[in-house]
Structure formats: structure tokens, C-alpha cells
Symmetry: C2
Subunit: 159 residues, 2 copies
């Protein structure tokens, strides 16, 4: 089984670690963790039963959430590497937010199964990165995603 | 303030009323409710604080979930009306699943605010409907969505 040892979210500063999807400090959240997987990016997650569309299958919003946070995490990994750093190196990574999200639901996605989101990241602009994502349950491609993420603007700092 | 009196989700058969986003029988879910608003569709919802990206602002996955379920609910409303029925009429509506979802995040979306998703539905095919969606916090457009939904296929019935 694949593993994510060093996730970018482990290194987010505390004030940016509260996201319901991927914040390690959000007690009720998913705690998605995204790391390098060769030159791809990887998030592994087994959704709880309540995230169902109908019994046994994940609802669209869960998959969109996983793809969304995988996209921002992948962008942060890529810019961090461009800056010369890796997760776990003790350096604070950049923090991204999603500009746009596209999800194609390919097959019903089983719950009680470890889902793997695999991403390919490319730079569009130094502050804007795109990740194309495939979500698998075992060998089955369940969803495809496309996330454009930008470095978090100042408007996201608490009012 | 606008209200949704008769929501399509109130009339889903019990076996299709467990969605984390919009199922009235999912104890832990959002319970999104979607009704007609003139010839548009409307979902109103105030997200709980934990659905944050950073403190004070909703995370992308929450907005994607709201847009996703608003899209399937809107498609169900529209096909139900085409069949001659309205929510609350005592007739069982059709149940849709999402084929594809697009979200553009326009502005940071405040928590502690009632969000309004307003949809425009169009028929692409008798079993495939598209909803374009705007999500407002007060008068501020926070996100735009585009959902293509299809009548639930048999592959979604429990394994």
C-alpha cells in the first residue's frame, strides 16, 4: 500500500491549519494529507460512512472536497519544491486557495475503501498552479478533477 | 428573507434520503433543501463554523457540496415539474446524481451568514439536466457553479 509520509499540510503554520478538508487542527474535519508520489502528488483517504450519496457510495460533495484540498496541497508542494524545499524540511510552505474546481464523476465511488487521489501539477504563473487529478478506489477510476489554485490573497485573513 | 417552503428533498423516497449533503435522514449531514423561487431554484444554508478554510471563511469543499446538491435538487425539481408535479404534491420525484461539477470561487465566502444558491435549470436530454448556479452571501456573489446531473443509474443501488 502507498503511504504519505511527509504531507505538506503537516507544515502549514497553525493559522492556516484549520481547513475542514485538510487542516490538522480542525477537530471535526477530514485531515486530508498530500505528499509527493514520484513526480505526482498523492492523497489517501477512507471516507466515513456518513459521507454517502446513497448507502455504500460517496456523495459528490465529499469527492469535490477531496479533489479541492488535494489541488491546493499539490500546488503548495510544487511551489515549495520550486523554492528548494520539501515537506518535513522545517521550512514553512506557501498556502494556496482554489480559484476553480472541475469534477467529472466517472463511476459510483465506494465507501469503506481507501481512495487515492493522484495529481499532476503544472505552473501556470508563479502564484497560480493547476493540478489534474484522478481518484481511484483500488484500480477503478471513480472521478477526475482539475483544480486551479492561487497563493492565498490577503482578503482571506480574518475580518 | 426568502424561504424554501416545499423542498424537493422532503419528497425523496427514504432509500434516497441519506445523502450527506441533502438527505433529510442523514443525521450528520447538511440537510440542504431546494425549492422553486419563481422560475429559478433556491437553496438557503448557514454553514457551521467548522466548515472553514481559514477562520471566518467557508472552505471550497463546502461550497462545492452546496452547489452539487443544489444542482441535483434543481434537476429533480425541473423534471418533476415537466412531469406535472410540484414538491409537496404527494408525488415521488425523480432522483438525480451529478455527472460533472464546475465551481469558480469568486470571493472569500463568510461563515455566520446565510448563503443563497440560486439556480437556472435547462433540459439537455430527458434524463440529463444542467443547472447554472450563483451563490450569494447577502448581495455579494461568492461562487459560481455549473452542474450537469443525470437520472440515478441502477449502478447506485446498494451492492
Amino acid at each position: 500500500m502507498n503511504k504519505v509520509i511527509h504531507a505538506i499540510q503537516d507544515d502549514y503554520p497553525a493559522e492556516f491549519a484549520h481547513c475542514f478538508g485538510c487542516g490538522r487542527l480542525n477537530e471535526k474535519g477530514h485531515h486530508f494529507r498530500t505528499g509527493w508520489f514520484g513526480d505526482k502528488t498523492l492523497t489517501l483517504y477512507e471516507p466515513k460512512d456518513e459521507y454517502m450519496a446513497v448507502p455504500g457510495f460517496a456523495y459528490g460533495g465529499f469527492l469535490a472536497s477531496m479533489i479541492d484540498c488535494h489541488g491546493t496541497g499539490s500546488a503548495a508542494l510544487a511551489l515549495h519544491r520550486k523554492n528548494g524545499y520539501e515537506p518535513g524540511s522545517g521550512h514553512i510552505p506557501p498556502r494556496f486557495v482554489t480559484a476553480s474546481l472541475q469534477v467529472d464523476f466517472v463511476k459510483p465511488t465506494p465507501l469503506q475503501s481507501i481512495l487515492q487521489a493522484v495529481g499532476t501539477v503544472e505552473e501556470i504563473h508563479p502564484k497560480k498552479w493547476r493540478t489534474t487529478i484522478e481518484v481511484f478506489a483500488g484500480d477503478t477510476l471513480c472521478a477526475k478533477g482539475d483544480v486551479t489554485a492561487v497563493v492565498m490573497p490577503d482578503s482571506f485573513i480574518q475580518r
